[in-house]
Each structure stands twice: as C-alpha cells, then as structure tokens.
C-alpha cells in the first residue's frame, strides 16, 4: 500500500512538474509572440496572470473599482513596455512591479484630486472579496484597514513573500523604511485582532 502511494505520489509530482514546465514553455512562447504585437498571445498572458495581479491590486488599494483600474493599467503598461522585458526576472515579478507602480501612481493621483476638491467624506473601503475564511478573513479585513504605507509593505512582504529589498525597490522607499512599516503594520494588526479576539 505504502509503495503504491509512493508510486502514485511520484506520478502526481511528475505530472505537476510536466504541467508546470508546459505552462512555462507556453508563457515563454506567448511572451515572444506578444513582443511581436500579437494581442491574442498577450490575452493568454493576461488570463494566466490576472488573478495574481488583481489580487495584489485589491490587497494594496482595498477598493474594487481602484483595483480593477490598476490591474487594467498594469496590463496596458506591460503591453507598451513588453519590448523591454528581457527575462532577467520572472514575468510575474516584472508584472507585479508594473502593477505596484500603477497602484502608487493612481493613489498619488487620487490624493491630488481628493485634495483639490477638498472632499470631506471619509472613504471607508469595503471588505475585499477573497476566498479567505474564518480567522484568515479577519486578518484580511484587518490588513485592509491598515494605513497605506504599512499596508503596502505588509502585503508585499508578508502576503506575497517579497524581501524587504524587493518590496522597498517596488515602493520606491528604503529597505529600513520597509522594515519600520512592517513593524508598524504588525503592531496595528495585533491591536485590531486582539480587539476581535483573533487567535492566529
């Protein structure tokens, strides 16, 4: 029985590895075609990456409409800059950088507009619809309520696993600032979750 399980697991691993390799081969082909202005190949790249790009946008903005705009902007920017993609990093990482820039740019613009019209209504972000359940959902909602700087660092570092150097590079801040923001985020989250009786 154990031998059968091992064999099955091994087969499964091989299948997964093959599938992953096929996706990577497909991705490389799509990138090459998209770089030659093939929009259908670019659509395939969009289908492959949209959930991860949108996930990052929604976690960073905490707002569905803003996240949709940012994700669209990111893919449009990616299309315009595709000739500059040399494969030095993974395509997904390259896309993430563009998406982070789209979010930051949009937030700067929103802030300018907000300041200009002197809106007094405080915007309270709606809860981000994710597949997280139970305590993870509580954590997800607490992350949405973090201040902007702390939220961005927490999302990139703690949720998406980027190092402080990588997160700082994406956000245009120093690595030390990234660490300080993470510390702040943890403290604020701990306070919020304690109030809600979260036991992670």
């Amino acid at each position: 029985m154990a031998a059968l399980l091992t064999a099955e697991t091994s087969d499964y691993s091989r299948e997964m590895a093959t599938a992953s390799s096929e996706i990577q081969n497909d991705e490389a082909t799509w990138i090459a075609k998209a770089q030659r202005s093939d929009s259908r190949a670019f659509e395939a790249l969009y289908r492959l990456h949209i959930d991860r790009v949108y996930g990052l946008c929604i976690r960073m903005t905490g707002n569905v409409s803003e996240a949709e705009d940012c994700a669209q902007e990111a893919f449009i920017q990616a299309w315009n800059k595709l000739d500059k993609f040399r494969g030095d990093s993974a395509f997904s990482t390259w896309l993430h950088r563009i998406a982070v820039n789209a979010v930051l740019g949009r937030m700067r613009k929103s802030k300018r507009e907000h300041d200009r019209i002197m809106a007094v209504a405080e915007s309270v972000p709606a809860a981000v619809a994710t597949s997280d359940t139970g305590e993870l959902r509580d954590l997800s909602e607490a992350v949405d309520r973090l201040p902007e700087g702390a939220r961005h660092v927490f999302v990139l570092h703690a949720v998406y696993g980027y190092s402080h150097d990588e997160a700082a590079g994406m956000l245009g801040i120093a690595a030390g600032t990234s660490k300080a923001q993470l510390h702040r985020a943890r403290r604020l989250l701990a306070q919020q979750l304690k109030q809600e009786g979260f036991e992670a």
Partner: protein
C-alpha cells in the same frame, strides 16, 4: 504582542490568498486600448516648439491689436466656452493673487467685450484662443516632462500674457466709453 503571536500572524499572512479573480472580465477594456492603432504622440520637443510659436503669434497679435483704433459698441456676448481651465498644471499654481485677479477679469470679460465692435471682439477671441492653445500644448508637454523648467517658465509667462490681455480688454472698453461720452 509576543514573538510567538507575531510569528503566527506572519504565518497566517502567508496563507492569505494571493490570487483573487476580479468580479468582471477586465480584458475587453485592455484590448480596446492596445488594439488601437498607435496614435502619433507629440514629442516634448515638438510640443515645446509649437507652444513657443503659438505664444509668439499671440504676442504679435496682441501688439498688433493694441496699435489699432477701436470704435463702435455692440451687444453680442462671447461664448463662455472660451473661458477654460486646465487642470494638470493650471493657473491656480500661480497663487491666489493671480487667480483672484484672473477670476475677476474673466467674470467681467463678457460684459467688457459686449462694448466692443464685432471686429475687435473677434480679434480678442482669436488671441485668447491662441493663448489657450499654447497653454494646452505646454500642459501636454509638461505631463511628459513635469520637471522641465523651460516649459514651466513659458507656461507661467503665457498665463501672464492672458492676464495682460484680459486687463487690456477692460482698458479698451473704458476708452470706448470715454469717447462715447464725448
């Protein structure tokens, strides 16, 4: 906050979903943009050159106009669309003093223009249009190069040209009234 809870929080964070499907398909909006034929965009240099040319034309037009005599009075009112406001690097960046003066002159412009002849009014309208086109061109160039000091100075100068023209319109109508009184 204990270190253990802190670690638990970070572990929980790493389990949060990183892939979230948007509620609607975003591709059509993207396709609409990327499948358009590339529009020929103005290079900053071209935009600068066009802005400077328009400004020179406007200055020449104002000078020419100031050398002409003015006579007659009509009642036609200028199209309010001429009063434009550019958002990206708008006239508000010149400070509240400038903006107050401009707002006040703009508010009076229609009344003042109504006192001038059709020909004079058309000349002023043309000059304002040229100035506004120059401001638009420079604003577009500044969107590409927000730190371009040359463009910023040109833009400020053009706003001052606009203010000068608005003031001159007021002066001209006062002259018309004086002659009519006589």
């Amino acid at each position: 906050m204990s270190e253990q809870n802190d670690d638990k929080m970070m572990q929980a964070a790493s389990r949060l979903s990183t892939e979230i499907a948007p509620e609607r398909d975003l591709w059509p909006g993207i396709a609409e943009v990327i499948e358009q034929p590339p529009a020929r965009r103005w290079s900053p240099m071209l935009a600068q050159a066009a802005g400077v040319m328009l400004l020179m034309a406007a200055s020449a037009g104002i000078t020419w106009y100031m050398m002409q005599g003015e006579d007659g009075a009509t009642t036609e009112v200028v199209n309010p669309d001429m009063m434009f406001e550019r958002a990206s690097f708008g006239s508000r960046s010149l400070g509240s003093g400038f903006q107050d003066a401009r707002d006040s002159l703009v508010a009076e412009l229609n009344l003042e223009l109504a006192k001038l002849s059709d020909e004079d009014r058309a000349t002023i309208r043309t000059n304002l249009t040229v100035i506004h086109s120059a401001i638009n061109e420079m604003n577009e160039a500044l969107e590409e190069e927000p730190d371009n000091v040359f463009l910023q100075e040109r833009l400020l100068r053009t706003y001052r040209e606009e203010l000068l023209l608005l003031r001159r319109v007021g002066g001209l109508t006062r002259n018309v009234m004086l002659r009519n009184d006589i």
